[in-house]
C-alpha cells in the first residue's frame, strides 16, 4: 500500500488575521502558518494504513514558508520520503495550485492512494482532492473518515450529516479527501524532528508547466459585517459568572 499525501500550509486562525493594504489579501508580515488540519489527518490515515499493510508513505507539498519543518515532522512521524515542489508562482487559487500539485504527483506514480485534506481554511475555488483526481484521471471521494484497503478496491467511509456515514467501495488507485483519520494525528517530539533534519533530505521538483489562468478574482477580503453581536458580560471571571447565573435564573433555566 503505497500512499502519496499532499500537504499544505494555512494561516493559523488562532492568531489575529489582518487584511493587507490592497484590501484583497492577507497581510503576511506577521502571519503564522501551520499544516492544514485536514492534511494532518490525511497523513495520519496514510501512516495507519502503512502500519496495517506495509508500503511507503510519500509527503508532497508546494513550497511555502515553514514547509520544511512540516515535511521533516511528517518524516519523523513515519513518512518515508518528502518532496517539495519549488519555483511556485504567486497568486495561486485552490484550482491552479491543485493543478500544479497534480503535475508533480503524476511524476511520483504509481501509488495505491493519494490522500489530502478534504478542504482547507483558505480554499476559495474548489477542493484540491477533486481537482487532483480529475487531472490524474483517478476516482475521488471526499469527507472521508476511514479507509480499509482490500486488494484492488478500498472500503471508504464518508461522513454525511446527523452522524450518518456511508460505506463505499472505491477502485484503486484513487484520491481521497480526508475529513478525519481513524485516530487523532500522532504527536512527534521536537527532538525527533530535529534528528530528521540532520539525517534526511527533502527532495525538490520544480513546477512542471502552465496551469492556465485563475477563474476567480478576489475583490475584497474583510472582517465579517455583523448584524448582531453578543451582549458581553463584563467584570472579573467571578463577576461575569454571577451575571450569567442571574440571566439564566431570569429565563428559568436554573
Amino acid at each position: 500500500m503505497n500512499t502519496l499525501v499532499l500537504l499544505k500550509m494555512v494561516p493559523d486562525v488562532v492568531e489575529e488575521l489582518e487584511v493587507a493594504a490592497d484590501g484583497k489579501s492577507l497581510d503576511t508580515s506577521f502571519l503564522r502558518t501551520i499544516i492544514n488540519e485536514r492534511d494532518d489527518h490525511a497523513l495520519e490515515q496514510a501512516l495507519l494504513l502503512k502500519e496495517r499493510h506495509g508500503g511507503k508513505v510519500t509527503v508532497v507539498a508546494l513550497d511555502a514558508p515553514d514547509i520544511d519543518d512540516t515535511l521533516f515532522a511528517a518524516m519523523a512521524k513515519g513518512a518515508d520520503r518528502a518532496v517539495k515542489i519549488t519555483d511556485v508562482p504567486e497568486g495561486l487559487t485552490t484550482q491552479t495550485a491543485a493543478k500544479l500539485c497534480a503535475q508533480a504527483l503524476a511524476g511520483l506514480l504509481p501509488a495505491d492512494l493519494i490522500l489530502t485534506g478534504v478542504q482547507a481554511l483558505d480554499d476559495l475555488d474548489g477542493l484540491s482532492a477533486a481537482i487532483v483526481a480529475h487531472q490524474l484521471g483517478l476516482p475521488y471521494i471526499g469527507v472521508v473518515t476511514g479507509v480499509t484497503a482490500d486488494g484492488p478496491t478500498a472500503t471508504v467511509i464518508k461522513e454525511f450529516a446527523g452522524g450518518v456515514r456511508g460505506e463505499f467501495a472505491v477502485t484503486l488507485p484513487a484520491v481521497l479527501g480526508v475529513q478525519a483519520a481513524e485516530k487523532p494525528p500522532r504527536y512527534v517530539p521536537v527532538a525527533k524532528v530535529r534528528a530528521m533534519m540532520k539525517t534526511q533530505k527533502i527532495e525538490t521538483v520544480p513546477v512542471a508547466g502552465d496551469v492556465g489562468a485563475a477563474t476567480i478574482e478576489v475583490r475584497q477580503l474583510a472582517k465579517p459585517v455583523v448584524s448582531s453581536h453578543a451582549e458581553m458580560l463584563e467584570g472579573s471571571p467571578e463577576e461575569a459568572a454571577a451575571k450569567l447565573v442571574e440571566r439564566l435564573a431570569q429565563r428559568g433555566l436554573i
Binding site: L127, H134, G162, I216, H229, L248
Partner: protein
C-alpha cells in the same frame, strides 16, 4: 451564454433537502438579476420533484447513482450542453464532492462557502466565509458557467407552490469506480443530545481530555449534557454521537453554553437555532460572539468553576 440559474437538487434518502429549497430562494433572487429562468437539476426519480415548484423548470435525469462521481458526470454533461450562467450547489457533505468534481471536469470555478450571491456587471459575485469564519471574501467568477457552493441557511426555504414543470433529460454516466455499499447509522450513544434542553459544548479551548470534567460538572449542575465541536471529537475525547455541526447533530436546546469554541461555520450550522446561546472564549474577536446572545471574554478555566459553584448554590437554595 444563457442567463439561466441552476440549483442542484440534493436528495437525501429519498427526499429533497431543506438546503435545496433555500438555494431555490437565493437562485430566484439571482435569476431576477440575470433575467434568466430558474431551473432545478434533479438527478433522481421525477416523483421526487414535487417540492421543487419554486423553479421554473426541473431538469430530471433518473439513471444517476448517488455517488459524487456519477452526480458530477451527469451535472457536467448537462452544463456543457445547456450552458447555464451559474449552478448553485449545496455546500454540504452530501453535495460538495459532486460540485467540486463537476467543476474540475468543466475547468470551471467552484466558489466555496458562499453565504450570498449577486449579479454585478455580467459576473456573479459571491460573499464567501473563509478562515473559519474570521474573514469574508467577495469573489467574482471570471468565467461562466460557474459553480457556487452555497452554505445552508443562506435564505429561507422556498415554498413548493404549484407542481413543477419537469423536463426529462438523458445523461450518460461512466462506469462507476466509486460504489455505494450501505449507510452506517449513528451509534446510539449514552445520551441523545438532540433531545436535551441544556447543552454545554466544548471546543478546542478545552485543551485536554482531563479538562472535560469541568464541562461535565457544569452540565450536571445545569441538568444538561456535554457535546462538542469537531476538534474534540477528532481527538477522541467525546464520541461521535456528541458532535454538533455539519457532520454531526443539529440541536435546538433552550440553552447552548459554549466553552472555548471559536465559531467556525461548520459548527454554527448545527446550533444556530438554540434559544439562548452563551459563549465563553479568550479571543474577543472569535466569530462565535457574532452568533451568541451572551458572551464572556475570559478564560473558561477561570469562569467555569465559579459558574458551576454559583449554579449549585442557586439550585441548592431553591
Amino acid at each position: 451564454m444563457a442567463s439561466n440559474i441552476w440549483v442542484l437538487a440534493e436528495t437525501w434518502r429519498g427526499q429533497i433537502t431543506e438546503t435545496t429549497l433555500e438555494l431555490l430562494t437565493l437562485g430566484r433572487e439571482l435569476a431576477g438579476q440575470t433575467g434568466g429562468p430558474l431551473e432545478a437539476v434533479l438527478l433522481g426519480d421525477k416523483s421526487l420533484a414535487a417540492p421543487l415548484g419554486a423553479a421554473d423548470n426541473v431538469l430530471c435525469a433518473a439513471n444517476v447513482a448517488p455517488t459524487p462521481e456519477a452526480v458530477a458526470a451527469a451535472l457536467a454533461q448537462l452544463v456543457r450542453e445547456r450552458q447555464p450562467q451559474a449552478v448553485l450547489v449545496p455546500w454540504t457533505n452530501l453535495s460538495m464532492d459532486a460540485g467540486a468534481l463537476a467543476a474540475a471536469q468543466l475547468n470551471a470555478p467552484f466558489v466555496n462557502g458562499c453565504k450570498d450571491l449577486k449579479s454585478d456587471g455580467g459576473m456573479i459575485v459571491a460573499q464567501c466565509v473563509v478562515y473559519g469564519g474570521k474573514l469574508e471574501a467577495a469573489v467574482a467568477a471570471t468565467t461562466a458557467p460557474a459553480l457556487f457552493g452555497v452554505l445552508p441557511g443562506s435564505r429561507p426555504a422556498a415554498a413548493a407552490g404549484n407542481a413543477p414543470t419537469v423536463t426529462e433529460v438523458a445523461v450518460s454516466v461512466p462506469e462507476a469506480r466509486v460504489k455505494f455499499n450501505r449507510y452506517l447509522e449513528p451509534e446510539t450513544g449514552d445520551v441523545d443530545i438532540t433531545q436535551k434542553e441544556v447543552l454545554v459544548a466544548v471546543g478546542r479551548g478545552i485543551q485536554q481530555q482531563d479538562n472535560l470534567e469541568l464541562a461535565e460538572s457544569l452540565a450536571a449542575a445545569l441538568g444538561g449534557a456535554v457535546c462538542g465541536s469537531r476538534p474534540v471529537i477528532d481527538q477522541g475525547w467525546l464520541p461521535l454521537s456528541r458532535q454538533v455541526g455539519k457532520s454531526g447533530m443539529s440541536v435546538k436546546p433552550k440553552l447552548y453554553l459554549m466553552l472555548g469554541i471559536s465559531g467556525a461555520p461548520e459548527h454554527v450550522e448545527g446550533m444556530k437555532n438554540a434559544q439562548l446561546i452563551v459563549a465563553i472564549n479568550t479571543d474577543a474577536n472569535a466569530p462565535i460572539f457574532n452568533v451568541a446572545h451572551l458572551g464572556i471574554n475570559a478564560d473558561l478555566f477561570d469562569v467555569v468553576p465559579a459558574l458551576t459553584e454559583k449554579i449549585r448554590a442557586v439550585k441548592g437554595g431553591a
